[in-house]
Every structure is written in structure tokens, then in C-alpha cells.
Symmetry: C2
Subunit: 377 residues, 2 copies
């Protein structure tokens, strides 16, 4: 095992690994799933439920928070952990991805990206230096470099230009982060779209600069899973063993299982909470649509063997009724059930890696998902 | 003290009284506030939070539940308490009020009211007998007679016609309830609009029929508070001392304090949860609008002396941010804060009555509300 001050690898099974990431606000067991609290809140969940579900670390969106309530305001109020009451590790993205997807009149230049806020139309400039400054003001345990993420499909020229710009921004981000207190972490982001050569060049460039951890960005944006996995396989061998690897914006339980099998340590995704708001439950049996009429008279819980109380103690009939009636409680319950399922999966993955049984765990888990819901058999 | 099997009066101070109401699903301390879980859920709250806030009994809406998911379905699933997971006392209204306010093509006849469902347009008939049958299927601890509630202002003739019809429906409701198992309770509803003579006639008629408890309906529908209090003063002296008195759909904290002073024992209202969804907090200092910009940088909690953790442990700045951002968590936190404030007020009222200090409590509480929020001083 190799190790760095902030990241201890504790186990390995094939390419899959377990570790402990140490941050100023606490430790993170890896592989780790980070639920997304976009604007300083987890949609439909109390923070205590996020914690109880087995969450070590959450993600906050720099783009949303810098626009409202504002990074300087959050700093004056003691930082995101004090402001929100989530008193654990927090990673913030750089804002780049949301600028690309949400902002208006976006213009990318060498020095910075300028855009209009989707909230009030105000003109905002985000440079690599400002992205770091904002994340420092927020008090993020883990900050991300500013990058440019192109939508796929894109031409090779466009992908390469954005990847090279992201590398130059990576260097500037690292310089801007030099004044951060010890213990706070900065991750670089490998880009390169679906072009293996560009992915490798990006990863090489980043390791040359040197970061506390390495993310793979610009995936899970609509490409087939096979492309995503192939890109992971290009990048991971280039990254240092003793640094955490974070696959951004991913994904489904199956995506995560396959990415862990290829050496990934960290994930984030809105899927458990977003799908929960749309009546979908993640379970051992795969995804279950509670809106479906077959649940209307079903007194059984989603999964009587679930370790999560709401998944084993609340009837499908009641969840169905809440979803059909548009009751907030339906979204609240399914969000916590889904985050708990994601965290339970991470826990089970860590156990399997520790016991050297990851391969059989992976096969068994995939088989169970494929078998489908007991209520549909 | 007088008493009935199901209702023990335990204290009195002026007209204000304390008691214990016994139902099949547990005991209710009075004066009691019943939060409204319209469609089998409390909007924005988990049932454990409703309970933790100090709630003994909740209200469910027969109209909503009979249309979706259906009374027969809920009965087959074990009744409302099993279906929802709220395993305590529950009162259901008769459906009459919602038929008047929500349903389309409503037609009131001697035998029943017919209407079209606001959900799917289906034609539905609700008679006094069916209203009792539905509430028995739901498993309500306390059922309400079907009544006709007229909007104010209305002519005396309209008010009298609806009041007399409600009295005849009261008799039919009582007959229909005769087969209910022991311990389950039926309340009559006094109508009569804003006409003292009709209010007295209604109350007299109801006591002649005999119920486990008596409600005052058709108030808090837009008339001045003084009219509401005057009608309470007409009705209460006619009602038997040894039966609980329930003021339907009321109200603000001040309404409840004044109604208790006039001998009322039970309340229900959507206000704590509805106002919570709109960014309003009920506190010792009166209602506080968290949307107001003055809270944006205020690290203080709503009330550092509150017994409710979220009211004393979460900053106004964070609540303001959640409300402004439209985050579900804002509605969730303000709903629980408001229900907890209502229940804390009921608790304090019961203590004051027990100690014979209700009058000074009432003056002190009103003075504190009038003084306004500390943040605005």
C-alpha cells in the first residue's frame, strides 16, 4: 500500500480499493458516494437523515452558492458547515459545469468565463483564481479546479481546446490554492471527452502539476456506459496510486459498481434525490416506480431486508398514495430511501473489497438487479 | 369536576379548562391542537416529527381520503393509523366542509350531498350515513357528523336552512354510528353562522341528541375575530360541561388563546404547515416572515430560548436562504417549527390552567406577541 498524508489506502481487490480520506471536518471512507446538496441543502432531507443514511461527505455547488446567498456572506456566517448545519466533510465543485449548463450569455476566455446569472441576470466573471477564492470562502474541505466541460458529441478540435485550457486553468488553480491552510485539499480534473489520447494527455498533465486527488470530468453526459468505462480505463493507470480518484456526476448504482471495479474511489450524483422526487426508489431489486398502479394495494415494504427503516417499515401502498397525491412526504421518504441505498451499496462494496470478495459481490449484485422487483415477478 | 367515560376534566381556571380525552389509539391532553394531515400525510413533516413536536392527535380529511386512495382501500390496509404509520389518535372531519370548498357541481339535498371529485371528475354521493361509514372504514378515533357549512356573509334564511339540515343530519349520523365499537367517538357540529339565536338553537338541538363531544363549525371563515368569539360565548354555556368542545378550523395562536379563555378544548388548523411553506415562522415574538431581507446576514436563531431544536439551533440567515431559494428543507423546517410552537403554546396553556395562572399567562403572552420580533426592534 502506498499512502499520502490525507489518503490512506486500506485494501485492494483487483483494481477496486478501499481507503480513508482525511479532511479538516472529518474522515471519509472510500469508495464514497457524495449526495448533492446543490444550494446548501439536500432536497427533501434533513441533514441528520443524510448523516444517518451513512453519508461521510456531501457536495455543494459553487455556482449556486456564489450567486445566492453569496460566498462572502457564507464566509461571514462561518462557512458552509456552520451555515448549513452539516458539520462534516464537504466538497465543492468549481462552478464550471453549471456555468456551462445553467448560465446565460456564457463566454469562455483564456482568463476567465463570464456569464449572466440564471437567477437575476447579473454579469459574473469566474476565473480559476476566483473559483478557488469562492471555495475557500465557502470553507470546502475539498476544492475543485475550474475546468471547461464540453458537451458530447463534440469535434476532436473542440475537445482538445477545452482540455488544454482546463490544464492551464489547473496550474493557475494550484497556485491560487497555495495559501490554503494545511489539511484542505485541491483536486484536478481530467478532461478529454471520448478521445482516449486526449484523456491520457490530460491525466499526464495533471499529475505533472500535482494534486491531492484527481477527478475525471465530462463523463456521464449522455454517452454510452461503455464509453465512460473505457475512458476510466485510459485515465486510471496514469493517476498516482496514493491519491483518491473521483468520477464526477456518476451515477447509477451499476455505473458506480463498474467504476469501482476500475479503480474509482469517489462519486457524486443528484440521482437518488432527483429520482426520489419523481417517485422512483433504488433497491436491491433495481429501480422501482412507486407511481405504478400495481403498488396501490400492496402492504409490503420496498424491501423487508433493508437496513434502512423507511425502506422496510413503510408500505408500498402508502408510498404509492403519497407519490400519486403529490405529497411532499413521498419525495422526502424516497429521497432518504435512495440515499440510504446508495450508501448501503458503498458500505457493501467496502466490505467486499476488504474481504477480497469484490468480484463475487459484483456478480451477485448485478444478478439481483437484473432479476427485478419481487412485486413484479 | 364532572366527567364522562372518555373525557376527564382535570382542571379549570375561569372558563379555561384542562382535561384528558381517551380514544382507542391513546390519550389526548386538552386543550389540544390537531395538526392537519389532509391526505394521510403532514405536508413537509415526518410523522415522528409531528409526535416529537408534542402532538397527541392529528386530523385527516375524509373528503380527500375517500377520493384517493379510497376508504375501502385504507380499511383493507388496516386503517389510517396502520396505513400512514401515525399510530396515535386521529380525528376525521365528515367531508362536508371540503365538499363545499373544493368539489364541483355540488348539490345539497335532504338525503345527501352530491358532487364531482376535484381529482377525476367522478360523481360522488355523500350522505350522513356514508360519511360515518367512510370514517369507520378509515378507523378514525373521533368521527364528525356530516353538516352543511355556509359561507359568510349569508342571509339569515340560508344560515337557518343549513343549520336545521345539519341538525337532521346530526340525528342520522348518530344512528349510523350506533354499531361502532366501544371507545370510538362521535362529535356533533353546531352551526348557525353569525346569528346568536341560531347558534343557540343548534347547540340545544345537538345536546338533545347527545354526542361524545361538540364542535363549533362554520367559524374562522373570514368573519372578524370578535364575531367568532361572540358565537363561542353563545354556544359554550349550552354545551355539557363533561364533554370536549372543539372549535373547527381555528386558528392563529391568538384565536386559540382567546377561545380557551372561553371554554374551548380542541382546535385544528392548516396554518402552521401552510404558513411554514410560505416562509412564515410562528414564535414567541409573533409571526416572522423569513423572506424578509433583514434576516439575510442574521446568524441568530428564531428564538434562542425555544424548547424546539430547529427554532433555537438554526440561523435566520440559513432559513432565509432556504426560503428564498425555494428549497424544500425551508418548508420542512418551518412546518416543524410552527407545529412545535403551536404545541408548546398548548402545553403552556395547560400548565397555566393547572396552576391557576391562566389570566396572567394570557396577558403576558399577548404582550410578547404585541412587542414583536427581537430582530425588528
Amino acid at each position: 500500500m502506498t499512502s499520502a498524508d490525507h489518503f490512506q489506502l486500506t485494501g485492494r481487490d483487483g483494481q477496486a480499493r478501499t481507503g480513508v480520506l482525511t479532511t479538516p471536518h472529518g474522515q471519509v471512507r472510500t469508495p464514497a458516494f457524495m449526495p448533492v446538496g446543490t444550494a446548501g441543502a439536500m432536497k427533501g432531507m434533513h441533514w441528520r437523515e443524510v448523516r444517518d443514511a451513512g453519508t461521510d461527505i456531501v457536495l455543494g455547488n459553487t455556482y449556486h452558492l456564489m450567486l445566492r446567498p453569496g460566498a462572502e456572506r457564507i464566509a461571514a456566517l462561518g462557512g458552509l458547515q456552520t451555515f448549513t448545519g452539516w458539520n462534516g466533510p464537504m466538497l465543492t465543485d468549481s462552478g464550471g459545469f453549471q456555468v456551462m449548463s445553467l448560465a446565460q450569455l456564457r463566454k469562455v476566455g483564456e482568463r476567465a468565463v463570464t456569464f449572466r446569472s440564471h437567477i437575476d441576470g447579473a454579469s459574473v466573471e469566474l476565473s480559476p483564481e476566483r473559483a478557488i477564492e469562492v471555495q475557500r470562502l465557502l470553507g470546502a474541505d475539498i476544492a475543485m479546479q475550474l475546468d471547461e466541460c464540453v458537451r458530447l458529441p463534440a469535434t476532436r478540435a473542440d475537445i482538445e481546446r477545452a482540455m488544454q485550457l482546463s490544464l492551464r486553468w489547473a496550474e493557475r488553480s494550484k497556485r491560487a490554492f497555495e495559501t490554503a491552510p494545511a489539511g484542505y485539499l485541491l483536486f484536478g480534473i481530467a478532461q478529454g471527452g471520448d478521445v482516449p489520447e486526449l484523456r491520457r494527455a490530460s491525466a499526464l498533465g495533471l499529475t505533472g502539476i500535482g494534486f491531492h486527488g484527481y477527478a475525471i470530468g465530462g463523463l456521464a453526459v449522455g454517452e454510452p456506459q461503455s464509453v465512460m468505462l473505457a475512458m476510466i480505463e485510459e485515465v486510471v493507470p496514469i493517476l498516482p496510486q496514493d491519491r483518491p480518484r473521483y468520477l464526477m456526476g456518476v451515477g447509477t448504482p451499476e455505473d458506480m459498481l463498474e467504476a469501482v471495479a476500475r479503480g474509482i474511489d469517489m462519486f457524486d450524483c443528484v440521482m437518488p434525490t432527483r429520482n426520489g422526487r419523481h417517485g422512483m426508489a433504488f433497491t436491491r431489486f433495481g429501480q422501482i416506480n412507486l407511481r405504478n398502479a400495481r403498488h396501490a394495494d400492496d402492504a409490503r415494504p420496498l424491501d423487508e431486508e433493508s437496513p434502512w427503516p423507511s425502506a422496510r417499515g413503510i408500505s408500498r401502498a402508502y408510498l404509492h398514495h403519497l407519490v400519486r397525491s403529490g405529497e411532499t412526504l413521498g419525495a422526502m421518504l424516497l429521497s432518504e430511501i435512495n440515499v440510504a441505498y446508495y450508501q448501503h451499496l458503498m458500505h457493501a462494496i467496502r466490505e467486499a473489497v476488504a474481504q477480497g470478495t469484490f468480484e463475487s459481490f459484483r456478480e451477485r449484485t448485478r444478478a439481483q438487479w437484473a432479476q427485478g422487483d419481487i412485486a413484479a415477478r
